[in-house]
């Protein structure tokens, strides 16, 4: 699975995610909203799918895409947890080296 923040580093992909968060859409529908070709949209959708941010289902001959926010939630939770652990750790380190002051 690719890094979600890398996947969202592109403004077109962010637009796609924002659009899909409001409603399911096909690659064609998404391309009609954007100044890029349908092929470009397909490439972006592949990158988003690899990051776990987008899922798809078939409806007849069409493929419809929708957003999956779980990878973002998981990444954010990790950042908050690990950051918090380091804040606490560094305060313990501060206490340890300061307690040596004469």
């Amino acid at each position: 699975m690719n890094d979600v923040f890398e996947a969202l580093g592109d403004p077109t992909r962010r637009h796609i995610v924002e659009s899909l968060s409001r409603h399911e859409a096909s690659a064609t529908q998404l391309a009609s909203e954007l100044p890029v070709t349908r092929q470009a949209v397909s490439k972006h959708l592949t990158a988003l799918r690899e990051a776990g941010l987008v899922e798809s289902r078939k409806q007849g001959r069409e493929t419809l895409y929708r957003v999956n926010t779980e990878p973002l939630d998981v990444a954010a939770a990790w950042i908050v947890r690990v950051g918090g652990e380091w804040d606490a750790r560094l305060e313990r380190l501060r206490g340890l080296v300061s307690s040596r002051r004469g």
Partner: protein, 96 residues
């Protein structure tokens, strides 16, 4: 995924370096009371940088002498996994 934290400690570089690399001192701040973790030091640039690996991922700590003491910059690199989902639930509680 990467997280960075930075502090300035009121202590000379040598003292901070010692706290980062001496196992007895590491025990006093790296883990919380009673917690047990396996930590391996994998890279050292004495007085400047130390890299560790441990069960959660990789950590690099860089030291820089500054006017008021020592700047400590920590970067942890890891992969958010399913255990992060539990952290998300407790986060939801905190926000509720």
């Amino acid at each position: 995924m990467e997280v960075t934290r930075e502090v300035v400690l009121d202590a000379p570089v040598e003292e901070v370096w010692s706290a980062l690399t001496d196992p007895d001192q590491l025990e006093e701040w790296f883990t919380e009371d009673g917690e047990e973790r396996e930590l391996a030091i994998v890279e050292v640039e004495p007085g400047r940088r130390v890299a560790y690996t441990w069960d959660d991922g990789n950590v690099a700590i860089e030291l820089e002498e500054v006017e008021t003491g020592t700047r400590v910059v920590v970067t942890e690199t890891g992969e958010p996994g399913w255990n992060a989902v539990f952290a998300l639930r407790s986060l939801a509680y905190a926000y509720a």
